[in-house]
Symmetry: C3
Subunit: 148 residues, 3 copies
Amino acid sequence: MKHCLIVISCLFAFLNLYAQQPILKKDKWHWGGTEKQDTSAGYTQALRAGNTVYISGTVALTINEDGIINVYKGLEKSLAAFGLTFKNVVKENLYTTDIEAMKTFNYVRKRFYKGDFPAATWVQITRLYMPEAKLEIELIAQFSSKEN
Amino acid sequence: MKHCLIVISCLFAFLNLYAQQPILKKDKWHWGGTEKQDTSAGYTQALRAGNTVYISGTVALTINEDGIINVYKGLEKSLAAFGLTFKNVVKENLYTTDIEAMKTFNYVRKRFYKGDFPAATWVQITRLYMPEAKLEIELIAQFSSKEN
Amino acid sequence: MKHCLIVISCLFAFLNLYAQQPILKKDKWHWGGTEKQDTSAGYTQALRAGNTVYISGTVALTINEDGIINVYKGLEKSLAAFGLTFKNVVKENLYTTDIEAMKTFNYVRKRFYKGDFPAATWVQITRLYMPEAKLEIELIAQFSSKEN
């Protein structure tokens, strides 16, 4: 009887150690189509968990007006998929192979924020996922905790 | 009458599709002055939404004692603007043009954490926003959920 | 009496200004041993605050099957320390000195996600903390808010 209790206690301790947390609810959004992710590269464009939306880097092949407009229209679409706008963006990380060029066209980027800017960090790197990409911007957006 | 109902239903469905989320409450802090952001570069130094504070990359032009002290005093100020300290930092991302130099002066950085370190990632990149910058450090800090 | 009230009011205003927030509860996990952080480099491998876990960059010295398996087994261990799995990963940031090589071995990385991918951004940088490191992957993972 005593042994039985010890065995049961050990079993519970063991189960507790390896207990998995309940499954996290994630909402995903991906470019067009019905798939909510790119199973070839292995990522999803935007993922919501709790009140936070993580948006994967969105790219431009050329750093000019059109390229930057495309990136931000893409980000806008990712946000809109969750009913959000640039007003919900709290953090922006900008990776580019040419910061100087990006500075020249920053006015295009700034338009999308309509005077309400997030925290942001820019770094110049040597290349991006696509060899021809010159700019990649990722965002963190937040839901208001009230409506959740 | 039936048509009217269909039209109203469609309208509601349409409105629902495009419904925006309630406006997110954001608290911003920026270096000196009354402006809470840099409308020229288009960013804010620190932004709180919910329990999280995102602190933009803070830079040093030279990787030496003074440069690193300046960076961390700046970060300390950003945190203090929200009543926080380095104890609230959960993540640090360090971007530098010279990791080897930064390692030499890591003892200066470490002092600010007073033995309580965050998760951290260091990468060496080719340049930062300011052409002469050698070091840029961004943080994520967290409020205790109790006091919110 | 009046003066006394003014002094007290000022004192309160002053105290309020410098009031610190309540101490944040953080759970840390670090590789082996009893120390919950690396006090030499000044970081912790994984840190939980609230519902979020920040996992520091985990490295490979060679970009091949074994190297990538090691990185993801390390990340798996960091997650498991909190009772989490790759299903809880919401964001992945991949830094490498050779994106082309990493693409070749992406199939190894993808296995660990078992078809449920996070938001992700890949950038090629010039070097990592360890001079010989070729790959570093950091994660953000999330607890389901129910069980907290």
